[in-house]
């Protein structure tokens, strides 16, 4: 069972490396980085405690928010999904991404105390 799981995963990684365009790979690398940062923050909170709770929350939510926005961007610029997003060009998706990020970071800075 575990053998097949490992083989499945390795095959998946192989296919991923070969078939996804470069733009999406950049976004995926960014996603991975954000996930690491979020996990680190959560680990820190578990170890040290939640004293300035709003600071922890704002940091963690900024990670989650950035992750979500990047995923949305990836979905919208993926050429395979073009059928669903006829009215939204990749440039428009990126502009939306930037705008949402501005709002998110403004709020995070306000909330961080």
């Amino acid at each position: 069972m575990s053998n097949s799981v490992i083989s499945v995963i390795s095959r998946f990684l192989e296919e991923y490396a070969s078939s996804t365009p470069n733009k999406l790979k950049v976004v995926d690398a960014y996603l991975l980085y954000i996930m690491m940062t979020g996990a680190l923050q959560f680990l820190y909170c578990l170890l040290v405690g939640t004293f300035p709770f709003n600071s922890f929350l704002s940091g963690f939510i900024s990670c989650v928010g950035s992750f979500i926005l990047a995923v949305c961007l990836r979905i919208q610029i993926n050429p395979q999904n073009k059928g669903e997003f006829l009215s939204i060009s990749p440039e428009r998706a990126f502009a939306d991404f930037l705008f949402a990020h501005t709002v998110l970071h403004l709020v995070v800075i306000n909330f961080i105390g």
């Binding site: 939510i61 998110l104 709020v107 995070v108 909330f111």
Partner: protein
Amino acid sequence: MFVFQVSAWGGYVFIINLIPLHVFVLLLMRRFSKRVYIAYSTFYVIGLILSMQIPFVGFQPIRTSEHMAAAGVFVLVQLYSFLQYLRERLTRQERQTLFSVAVCAAALLLFVCVVYLSCTGWIAPWSGRFYSLWDTGYAKVHIPIIASVSEHQPTTWVSFFFDLHILVCTFPAGLWFCIRNISDERVFVVLYAVSAVYFAGVMVRLMLTLTPVVCVLSAVAFSSVFERYLSDDPPAEDDRRNSGSLYEKAGKVRKQVLCEEGLGSNIKSLVSVLLLLLLLMFTVHCTWVTSNAYSSPSVVLASYNHDGSRNILDDFREAYYWLRLNTGQHTRIMSWWDYGYQIAGMANRTTLVDNNTWNNSHIALVGKAMASNESVAYDIMRLLDVDYVLIVFGGVIGYAGDDINKFLWMVRIAEGEHPRDVRESDFLSPQGEFRVDKAASPALLDCLMYKMSYYRFGEMQLDFRTPPGFDRTRNAEIGNKDVRLKHLEEAFSSEHWLVRIYRVKDPENRPRLERKPRVTSTANKHKHKRKATRRRRGFIKNKLVLKKGRRLNRKQRRTGLN
């Protein structure tokens, strides 16, 4: 937009639960798409952090159960989308090997987390004001202050018709039209309609959430009907059928065509005119309702005389302006919380409790002061440093929203915090009624609210037909007409005695003693003195005065010889 709603009203909880419900139902109906995913995830994350900026909301969105549905759906949506992504990449066999391992592990982990957090109390259970929407009897027993607000009572059929008029009937029709041509957005409307109907039935105040969807669905119904009945073109099949058989029997077919069109246009015009009439009546009703019920400022009361002329009662503003002009800037006013905002706004004075006070114990203390006798109330008022007390009394004009009518709620709220000192049964007559006349309970006749309301009212005769001290609101002659106040003095009563203000007197400089002055008995002292004088030299006690020529009587002769 969502954040504006959060900052304006606590009803945003309805939205934050309705939208995840919509997404979840779309998931179940297999209508879930990437657009929905993007929309919901962005909405949830940015909405979450923005809503936590409002001080009153604070950390509630991640700690209370009311917001857990949104978080749960968010996590579910992430998982589902990730699985969809994998499904596009892997073949069936590979999917199956991964599926059972990964999905079960993830679901189990999530479930255990939520249960653990709920049990340890990190996620608070449903708070009182939302729990009472599901269990309607809960608030009356446990949280009387929520049950006492008149807008929290269940809605009557009358108020449904009053607010919605004809739309009550057209709204289900619109709902059916929506369900017939279902799409992603219409699922939301259907869910909104069903949940809003339930909540509007539970609480009058939540009619606010029902009206938008009723308007929308009725508009859908009306427009569908009008579309069908106002169009002049006959259906296409009839045309083709008629033109096919036109060549066979020319005369007969033409008559048939004419008959059908004639019937159709009559019915069409009848139905259209009928619906137009209904809409006209609805407009008239709405204008009347808005002008009469929803436009009058409740601070200025208007009543109508027999001949229809309007009589304006401006007592509230008169009293608030008296307070503003005649009291010091830092005086503190004690009143029931309904008038808190008005006093703060128009009189510009400090109040103890107002409409936004969430500290139940404080309100209960004010209630206890109103419901106790004068000495106990005076202690509470000295403790809270109160200078003036304001009450509303409607007995002179028959105003039904005065403090005596609200009194039982004050008692219930005070009883919640001080059950040994204040009991509701004390204030009811032996038969269990709330009366203010001779059959009233002695606790009621002695309490501060009663005394303040009816001070000097016993001498007032409003009408030659009724005795003095006749309360027009309760239609009864009051039980205790001779009201004496020891620690308060009357400062102001407005023109129709609607608002009465009393000043709390300072404690007396020399407190009067309750005991009588000490009486010393002088009987022992006399005996003491008699012994001493007898031994003194040179003094004869009871010396007789001899008048020459006058005979001594027997008693005097005896003592004289001695």
